[in-house]
């Protein structure tokens, strides 16, 4: 076990706590940056998608994992980001400006939703966000003069610094840069007073309110941040899709995003990355598994959502802390080697319908 000798207060809030962290994250960065040289077009594209998922996941994690507000409607923010970006690109705005605008528009809508959702908690919030996503989907499919409805909307070619983005590796580096920026921004927010306030709201609204945190402001802010980041992912997702139509942003996408957060581990940014890897590569795994299954089952059209549901159920039942939680348990098992006790990680259960103990 490693004991850190702290000589400065800032060490408490360092992102990288010690040399081991610095080494491994540096190595990861080098590997990810070198990936286009080693990977083929297909896997590079998949990795790109994983990173887009990760950006959306960071947005959702800020809301679900750190502010404790459930959202079943994040596909709507993804859609808003994607459509805003494509429309503005089509209107001749430069790539970067159009992405910023997409983020701002989604954040604004998110703030609106957050403001409406202020009085709701728990399931009511989940239902309201679900209704919001349904409304958005319907609006997009009906507003044909703007979005093309079900005929779809072609995403224009983007160019960055006068260089057209056509190759896979160009998109890859754009996404990678934005992911790193997003992650750093999110982590910095989390160690600022804003982030601490959000975590306090997650742990108990009443105690947060009693230490002077303005619930309305911070909840709306959390929604806006989360929606803005998801909108950014949506803008990148638009390039990945190439052609936008409302059925690309269904409830299943919202569920996938939530599944990512839950499977990765609620309440950790590393969990987002694990979850994104999981969600991104699950379809490949399913495709491989299909070859071994009997054709009646393998060819069934509803198999994929079913598997998603099954994984969700299994994770909630057996590892509510997700992959990151399992990793923590394995790590502490080896760190404490003969002394590890299962009860260390037991979750507290509450049987009262009150939010005092939450």
């Amino acid at each position: 076990m490693r004991f850190l000798f702290k000589t400065h207060y800032n060490q408490d809030i360092d992102h990288l706590k010690h040399g081991g962290d610095r080494f491994w994250y540096g190595l990861l960065l080098v590997l990810v940056a070198a990936a286009p040289a080693a990977l083929g077009t297909f896997y590079l594209g998949e990795l790109n998608l994983v990173m887009i998922y990760a950006i959306a996941g960071v947005g959702l994690m800020l809301l679900v994992g750190y502010t404790g507000q459930v959202s079943l409607g994040h596909a709507a923010f993804l859609a808003i980001g994607a459509y805003t970006h494509s429309l503005l690109l089509g209107a001749g705005l430069p790539f970067l400006l159009s992405i910023v605008a997409a983020v701002l528009v989604s954040a604004l809508v998110g703030a609106g939703v957050g403001w409406i959702a202020l009085r709701m908690t728990g399931i009511y919030l989940a239902i309201a966000t679900l209704a919001f996503a349904m409304l958005t989907e319907q609006t997009i499919s009906r507003a044909e003069w703007l979005t093309g409805g079900f005929r779809g909307l072609a995403v224009p070619q983007a160019s960055l610094f006068g260089m057209p983005l056509t190759q896979g590796w160009q998109h890859y580096y754009v996404t990678l840069t934005l992911l790193v920026v997003t992650l750093l921004a999110a982590l910095n927010i989390l160690r600022s007073s804003t982030g601490r306030a959000m975590v306090a709201i997650r742990d108990s609204e009443i105690s947060a309110e009693s230490v002077g945190i303005n619930l309305a402001v911070y909840k709306t802010l959390a929604f806006a941040l989360s929606a803005g980041i998801t909108g950014l992912a949506g803008a990148l997702f638009a390039h990945r899709l190439g052609y936008l139509s409302p059925d690309a942003f269904t409830f299943l996408i919202s569920l996938q995003l939530l599944l990512m957060v839950v499977v990765g581990g609620v309440g950790s940014m590393r969990g987002v990355i694990y979850g994104a890897l999981f969600i991104g590569f699950l379809p490949q795994l399913l495709a491989i598994a299909r070859d071994t299954l009997p054709p009646q089952i393998a060819q069934a059209p509803g198999l994929e959502p079913g598997i998603f549901g099954l994984i969700l159920v299994l994770v909630i039942l057996f590892e509510p802390q997700g992959i990151f939680g399992r990793w923590l348990k394995i790590k502490s098992y080896f760190q404490l080697f003969p002394l590890y006790r299962r009860a260390t990680h037991r979750r507290q259960k509450t049987y009262l319908r009150t939010e005092r103990l939450r």
């Binding site: 679900v64 404790g68 459930v70 079943l72 409406i116 009085r119 709701m120 728990g122 399931i123 009511y124 989940a126 239902i127 309201a128 679900l130 209704a131 919001f132 349904m134 409304l135 319907q138 609006t139 499919s141 009906r142 009443i206 569920l255 939530l258 839950v262 609620v266 009646q296 089952i297 069934a300 059209p301 509803g302 198999l303 959502p305 079913g306 598997i307 998603f308 549901g309 099954l310 994984i311 969700l312 159920v313 909630i316 039942l317 509510p320 979750r347 259960k349 509450t350 049987y351 009262l352 319908r353 009150t354 939010e355 005092r356 939450r358």
Partner: protein
């Protein structure tokens, strides 16, 4: 406890009824009773083996769990019964009732009558019987209910059995009007809207909420441009949540420290 898989339980109920009545040729009433019973048993077992494990964990876990279950049910139903919509034979299909000038088809009349009977039965059950009151107590405070001697776990399972049975009834009533297919459970979201508008824990409220949504959808379909019909239920839901988040007939009072 909240159930996002209710619509899918309804779908399962309808499929079981179709199988029993259409394929096995059971008499209609017997098939209906058997499928309600089957779903009730299924609900009981579902709670006993799956849902009981998350009792006492944050509501988020329960929401996610039931959503996941809904997806599983839909996939399983698709595997077993296929994705082609099936029609549901009833003794009253195609006939209609004439009351003065108004003509109502028996299918819709059955829905009306079935809903009314169901509501009265449930209302009386939750007001008058020991078990119903025990269920309300459990829903309000599990710990206190346990202290006064209510077998909380069994009561929870029974609640799930009842809710699955009611879902089966809803599925059987709906089946003749809309065809039976794995996606029919999506109406469950609207049922949620109804329950939220009326206020959770209030059966008359749910009835009124469903009524409001149904009327609004029809009016939106007639008087507003296309597309508003599908949107109206969600619009009303959001409006209701803004204006009166606790529902029209709220059972739960505002939480106090």
């Amino acid at each position: 406890m909240v159930n996002f898989a209710q619509g899918d339980l309804m779908m399962l109920g309808a499929f079981v009824a179709v199988t029993l009545i259409g394929d096995f040729g059971l008499p209609w009433v017997l098939g209906l009773l058997l499928s309600v019973l089957a779903l009730a048993v299924f609900g009981y077992l579902l709670d006993a083996f799956v849902l009981r494990r998350v009792l006492g964990e944050p509501q988020f876990a329960i929401v996610m769990l039931t959503i996941g279950l809904g997806f599983i049910f839909r996939a399983v139903a698709g595997l077993v019964w296929g994705y082609d919509p099936q029609s549901f034979p009833t003794p009253y299909t195609g006939k209609s009732l004439r009351v003065g000038e108004v003509v109502v088809s028996y299918e819709n009349f059955a829905i009306l009558l079935g809903t009314l009977i169901l509501c009265v039965v449930l209302f009386l059950f939750f007001r008058r019987t020991r078990l119903g009151i025990a269920m309300q107590a459990t829903s309000q405070n599990q710990l206190a209910a346990y202290y006064v001697g209510i077998p909380v776990k069994r009561v929870f399972s029974l609640v799930w059995a009842i809710s699955a049975g009611v879902a089966a009834v809803a599925g059987i009533l709906l089946a003749p009007v809309s065809l039976v297919q794995p996606g029919m459970g999506f109406i469950g979201i609207k049922a949620f809207a109804a329950a939220v508008i009326g206020g959770f824990g209030s059966i008359p409220g749910a009835l009124l909420g469903g009524w409001i949504i149904g009327i609004a959808e029809q009016f939106a379909g007639v008087y507003l441009p296309a597309g508003f019909q599908e949107m109206s239920a969600y619009g009303i839901l959001i409006l209701a949540l803004i204006l009166r988040p606790q529902g029209l007939f709220a059972q739960i009072q505002r939480k106090k420290v």
